[in-house]
C-alpha cells in the first residue's frame, strides 16, 4: 500500500518559491491501477517522482508498505528503487543499446548474473509483444514499440509497483490504446500496483480503478473512476469528464445547441447521463411512447466503456405545447435514475 500523508513540496526558484504539491493525502491500494489526472504544471510528475525518491517532499511523508521512502538515502534508496519500475513519456531508452540490452540494463544494475539475464529478458520481450526485435536499436522502432521496450525494462526486476509518467502522451490514439491494453494486461497477469499520471481522461477511463484529480498541486477530488465520471463535483473534474464523454468537441455541441435553441424557441434541451445497465435500456423510445404529445429530437450522444461498465451521455430536445408534459418527462426520466441536466438558454 502506498500512502501520502500531508505531503507538500515547494521548489526554490529565482523568482521565489513554487508550491508544486500542497497537502496531498492519498492511499493507493495494492494491485490496483490508480490514476492521477491534472493539467500541465499541476504537480503530477512531482508526486509520482516522490515514490522512487527522484524528488523528496518538503513536508509530510511518503510510505510504501510501511517503508518511508522520503527518509531513505544511498544504498537503502537504491535497493528500494529496484522494486519500483517506471516508464516515461519520452521512453528514455539508451540509444546505444539494442532492445535486448535495454531490457537487460536494470538487471545489470541489480547485478543479476549474465546467464539468468538472458532467459528473463527474452521472456519480457515476448510479454510486451516484441519477439524477434531483440537486436533492433531504439532508433529503428516506432513510438509504441519504444514504449513497449520501456515497459519490458520497467518489469525486469519484478517490481511491486509500476509508475507511469504520461507514458502514452507522445503516442497516437491507436498506439495509446495498445499500450494501455498492455498495461491493463500486465496489471492483471502480474498483480502489481500501477500508478498512472496523465492529462487525458481517456487513459483514466480505460484502465484505472481509482482516480485523483490534481489542480494546482492540490487533490480536489478522488474516488472510484465510475463514481467520478458519474458525479463529477468540481468544475475542473467536469471539464475532464466532458473532454472524454463528448465525442465531438465541446464547441460543436454548444454550436448545435444554440442553433436548435434558435430554431425551436419553446424547446427544452436536456443532457442525459447514463451509466452501467441503464446505458442498455430503451429509455428514449419509452418516453416517446409514454408522452405522445411530446416531440423528441436527438442532438448528440455517445457511449464509452470503462473498466466497470458503460457510460454514456445524450443531448435531446423536448418540444411540446404543453409545458406540464415537459415537466412530466423530466420527472419520468428521474424515476429511471437517468441523470438530467437542463441546458439553460443564454439571454
Amino acid at each position: 500500500m502506498i500512502e501520502f500523508k500531508d505531503v507538500s513540496k515547494t521548489f526554490d526558484v529565482k523568482e521565489g518559491q513554487v508550491a508544486a504539491v500542497r497537502d496531498v493525502n492519498l492511499t493507493i491500494p495494492d494491485g490496483k491501477i490508480y490514476g492521477i489526472v491534472g493539467y500541465s504544471g499541476a504537480g503530477k510528475s512531482t508526486i509520482i517522482r516522490m515514490l522512487n525518491g527522484l524528488e523528496f517532499p518538503t513536508t509530510g511523508s511518503v510510505t510504501i508498505n510501511n517503508t518511508e521512502i522520503s527518509k531513505l538515502k544511498g544504498k537503502a534508496l537504491r535497493e528500494q528503487r529496484l522494486k519500483i519500475g517506471m516508464i516515461f513519456q519520452h521512453f528514455n531508452l539508451l540509444w546505444s543499446r539494442t532492445v535486448f540490452e535495454n531490457v537487460a540494463f536494470p538487471l545489470e544494475i541489480a547485478k543479476v548474473p549474465k546467464a539468468q539475464r538472458k532467459e528473463k529478458v527474452l521472456r519480457l520481450i515476448e510479454l510486451v509483444g516484441l519477439k524477434g526485435r531483440e537486436n533492433a536499436y531504439p532508433s529503428e522502432l516506432s513510438g509504441g514499440q519504444k514504449q513497449r521496450v520501456g515497459i519490458a525494462r520497467s518489469l525486469a526486476n519484478d517490481p511491486e509497483i509500476l509508475l507511469s509518467d504520461e507514458a502514452t502522451s507522445a503516442l497516437d490514439p491507436q498506439t495509446t490504446d495498445e499500450v494501455l491494453d498492455l498495461l491493463l494486461d500486465i496489471n492483471k497477469k502480474l498483480g502489481l500496483t500501477v500508478v498512472v499520471i496523465t492529462h487525458e481522461m481517456h487513459v483514466i477511463r480505460k484502465i484505472c480503478d481509482q482516480v485523483a484529480v490534481l489542480d494546482a498541486g492540490e487533490i480536489v477530488e478522488q474516488g472510484p473512476v465510475l463514481d467520478v465520471f458519474k458525479h463529477p463535483k468540481q468544475a475542473i473534474t467536469k471539464r475532464f469528464v466532458n473532454q472524454e464523454t463528448s465525442t465531438s468537441s465541446q464547441d460543436d455541441t454548444t454550436l448545435a445547441v444554440s442553433e436548435l435553441l434558435k430554431k425551436y424557441p419553446n424547446g427544452l434541451i436536456i443532457k442525459l447521463g447514463f451509466h452501467g445497465d441503464q446505458a442498455q435500456l430503451p429509455i428514449v423510445s419509452s418516453v416517446i411512447r409514454k408522452f405522445p404529445d411530446v416531440d423528441l429530437s436527438i442532438i448528440e450522444g455517445n457511449i464509452h466503456q470503462t473498466t466497470e461498465g458503460a457510460l454514456g451521455s445524450l443531448y435531446i430536445q423536448v418540444i411540446s405545447d404543453n409545458q406540464d408534459s415537459v415537466k412530466e418527462v423530466l420527472s419520468y426520466l428521474n424515476t429511471m435514475r437517468v441523470e438530467t441536466e437542463v441546458i439553460e438558454r443564454e439571454q
Binding site: 527522484l54 537504491r78 535497493e79 528503487r81 529496484l82 528514455n92 540509444w95 545489470e108
Partner: protein
C-alpha cells in the same frame, strides 16, 4: 642545385628518406602517446566538470570553479609559449628538453583541458531523462558513468578525440621547430635552414596525409558506433 626556383620543391633526390621516415614515426609516436594520455586525463577532467556543474553543494561548486579556471587558463596559452613556459618542468619530469619525449608534457597539458571541455559538452548533451531512468532503477554513480554517460556520448567523445588529435599533430610540428623531433623539426632544420625545399614539401605532404588518415579513421568509428 637550384635552391630558389619553383622546381626545387620537386628535387626529391635531395630527400634523405630514412631520416624522413624516422621523423614521421616520431610525429606519429608523439601524437599517439599524448592522445592516449589526453583521452584519459580529459575524460576525468570533463567528468569532474560535468558532475560539479549543476551541483548544489558549495564544495562541488568551488571545485568546479577551480577546474574550470585551470581548463580555461591552459586552453588560452598559445602553444609555443606554453612549451617555453614548461621547459624547466619538462627538464625535471622527463630529464631532457629535446627529442619527442620532451614534447609530451606540453602537448598533453595543452590538449587535455581542450578535450575536457569537449567531454563536458558531450555529457551535457545526453538526455537527462535517460540518466534519471537509470537512477530510478537504482543505479549507482559508477554505473551511471560507465553504463550511461560514457556509452551514450561515445560518438561525441570519439569525434572530440579526432579533433584533438589533429590539432595535436599541428602542435607536434610546432614543438619540432624548437627541438622536439618529428616532421616539423625536419622541415625546419633540413628544409628551411638548409634551403632544401623538397624536404619541406615532402614533410608537409606526409603531415597532411597523417591528418587525413586520422580524420578518416575517426569518421568511420563514429559512423559505426552511432546508432541514433
Amino acid at each position: 642545385m637550384n635552391n630558389n626556383g619553383f622546381a626545387s620543391y620537386f628535387q626529391l633526390s635531395n630527400v634523405d628518406w630514412p631520416k624522413m621516415w624516422l621523423a614521421t614515426w616520431e610525429t606519429v609516436w608523439m601524437t599517439l602517446v599524448s592522445i592516449i594520455v589526453v583521452a584519459i586525463l580529459g575524460a576525468l577532467l570533463g567528468l569532474l566538470l560535468f558532475e560539479t556543474s549543476n551541483s548544489k553543494s558549495a564544495g562541488a561548486r568551488a571545485l568546479n570553479w577551480i577546474v574550470a579556471a585551470f581548463v580555461n587558463i591552459f586552453r588560452s596559452i598559445p602553444f609555443i609559449i606554453l612549451i617555453v613556459l614548461l621547459l624547466p618542468a619538462t627538464q625535471a619530469v622527463m630529464g631532457t628538453i629535446i627529442g619527442p619525449k620532451a614534447a609530451l608534457p606540453s602537448l598533453i597539458i595543452s590538449a587535455a583541458p581542450f578535450y575536457a571541455r569537449l567531454v563536458e559538452i558531450a555529457f551535457h548533451e545526453i538526455d537527462h531523462g535517460v540518466v534519471e531512468a537509470a537512477q530510478s532503477m537504482g543505479a549507482t554513480k559508477g554505473q551511471i558513468i560507465f553504463k550511461v554517460l560514457l556509452p551514450e556520448s561515445m560518438p561525441a567523445l570519439v569525434s572530440g578525440i579526432t579533433v584533438t588529435a589533429i590539432s595535436l599533430i599541428g602542435y607536434t610540428a610546432m614543438a619540432g621547430a624548437i627541438g622536439a623531433g618529428g616532421l616539423g623539426n625536419l622541415a625546419y632544420l633540413d628544409g628551411f635552414q638548409a634551403s632544401n625545399n623538397a624536404v619541406t614539401l615532402v614533410a608537409t605532404v606526409i603531415i597532411v596525409l597523417v591528418v587525413f588518415v586520422c580524420q578518416f579513421a575517426g569518421d568511420i568509428v563514429v559512423k559505426r558506433i552511432d546508432k541514433r
